[in-house]
Amino acid sequence: MSVLSPAPRPLALASVAGRPMRAWHWLGLAALIAIAAVLPFGLSNYQCFQLTSALVYAIAIMGLNILTGYNGQISLGHGAFFAIGAYIAAILISKFAVNPWLTIPVAAVVCLGAGFLFGLPALRLEGLYLALATFALAVATPQLLKYKHAEGWTGGVQGIVILDKPEAPFGLPISQDRWLYLVTLAIAVVMLIVARNLTRGRVGRAIVAIRDHPIAAETMGVNSALYKSLTFGVSALYTGIAGALSTITVAYVAPDSFDAFLSIRLLVGVVVGGLASISGAIYGGLFIQFMPNFADQISKAAPWAIYGMVLIAFMFAMPTGVAGFVNATLARLTRRWRG
């Protein structure tokens, strides 16, 4: 399991140029967020929209990573939770005229419940069989969404079209797409910080211990069943929030956009970004959003061929993903700089 362990943290005592390493860490992070916040003003509305989608994926990938990367439960069906979040937002906005942003907490709570409930039978399924059951969930999702007796709510095959996207408040002179990007960025940053704190604390150690050695974890007093179902719930919560955000930014849901390939794309994002890493979610989101744009020019099938090859190549050559690679490179650079 060593390949899945998170990269070693820089020692708090180490210092560079008179400042402790941790301060540099936070400064770098603040600078990155600041750059991400001013970035949309130099980009077109469409490019902003694409970046927003990448951030939405990043949140979903973070959710899947908590479950698969940290807890070791393989899910190939997270597209289903994404779909639940997206449909809850769409139904609330179109049928009940709820404020779009208020649908996010609702989607989060419902997905937490749905994930927890799906996590209960999942307790009895080890590795491969869980992958199989969740894969079946992923394949069945579009069919369930098209179910004709629920058409009144879900819009059946046509899906739901939402007429307008939220505008910037207080008459701020920001375009719709830029405003959506900024809100999504804020939500993504908060969600990633929460995930970081969750995985580094007592709970996080319990989650990782269950992955690495379930029996030892039980012996140490970790309630494995409870933690596993809760992890499933929290993971679904993240993915559900991403689903609701995607409805708000795209203003449209349709059953066929939540097929098994969505779940596979999220898995690709986790593997490329880096299993059991926080920053990996961002790399993964950017990858699954932008790679198809480039590959589409070769052939309609090319993006998926590349996804498949990237999956296998990363498993062989870079099992810690881009995040692991970047962290290792940074660690090497700072060591040279110091020493």
């Binding site: 390949v3 069945a140 069919q143 998926w304 061929a305 296998i312």
Partner: protein, 289 residues
């Protein structure tokens, strides 16, 4: 009553296809304790090879034999190149590699042969049999499935190579001590599974038509069948495949309508795994800690 019989018979025919893929899944599971998610896509790709050969003017059965041989080789190569290095890696790595394979086969097929739906010829004459409970192709496909099953049974039961393969799956260390090349037995298992998948693909293609996504549902039904019968029991898996085929048709026709058919597979898979993970005929696994 008449329609019910009809549903049952056509369920048996599709069940035969599920049974073949289930058999392929069980073969790999027995040898490696893994479930190959790419099994369906590999079968789909083999079927495209057969289609291309027939398009080039090759007679059906020659194309059939060549495709099975090519799939056998392909399966062995995949095991040697991609699966072998993952032998000691965590389950997650294997699953990711399988998903990668699934996606690659799916997209390469779309890339080479385009996504337009193609019709695939049936080798069986189009004469009506037994009233109309069975189309000739359905009957032929079921027979082919049973023949494949019989061959697999005879191979494992009566040949020394089959015995060696069973031994390698049962106990690697002891097998090595008596001179069995365990690595090659695993590769051969992959080869056979790919070949069985190819047969199933060629049998199902005339019914569902040939396109890159034709196997996605079939794979799930096969999973459900294999689990229902017991993932470590080839005969059970075949029976499970037939049961799933009939169940899917009857439930689809009378209870929930055709558009929710895949959900039957989902419910079956989760149901079996939760209620009786060893399946109807499988061994109950006890793990030592």
């Amino acid at each position: 009553m008449d329609t019910l019989l009809h549903q049952i018979f056509s369920g048996l025919a599709t069940g035969g296809i599920y049974a073949s893929i289930a058999l392929a899944l069980v073969m790999i599971h027995q040898a490696t304790h893994l479930v190959n998610f790419a099994q369906g896509e590999m079968a789909m790709f083999s079927t495209y090879i057969a289609w291309q050969l027939i398009e080039w003017g090759m007679p059906y059965w020659a194309a059939f034999a060549l495709t099975v041989a090519a799939s056998l080789m392909g399966g062995i190569v995949i095991e040697r190149v991609l699966i072998r290095p993952m032998a000691n890696a965590p389950v997650l790595s294997s699953v990711v590699v399988f998903i990668g394979l699934l996606v690659i086969f799916n997209s390469i097929a779309g890339w080479i042969f385009t996504y337009t739906v193609k019709s695939f010829p049936s080798p069986f004459p189009a004469v009506p049999l037994f009233g109309s409970y069975f189309s000739p192709h359905e009957l032929g496909a079921t027979l082919v499935t049973l023949v494949v099953l019989a061959l697999v049974f005879l191979f494992f039961r009566y040949t020394s190579l089959g015995l060696a393969m069973r031994a390698a799956a049962e106990n690697k260390v002891s097998s090595r001590l008596v001179g069995i090349r365990v690595g090659w037995m695993l590769a051969l298992g992959w080869g056979f599974a790919a070949a069985i998948g190819a047969v199933a693909g060629m049998m199902v293609a005339p019914i569902v038509f040939l396109e890159p996504n034709m196997m996605s549902g079939i794979l799930l039904y096969a999973f459900a069948g294999a689990l229902l019968g017991g993932i470590d029991n080839p005969g059970g898996a075949v029976l499970g495949g037939f049961i799933v085929g009939v169940l899917e048709n009857v439930v689809g026709a009378y209870l929930i309508g055709t558009e929710l058919k895949l959900t039957v597979a989902l419910v079956l898979i989760v149901g079996v795994l939760v209620v009786k993970p060893s399946g109807l005929f499988g061994r109950v696994l006890v793990s030592r800690v």
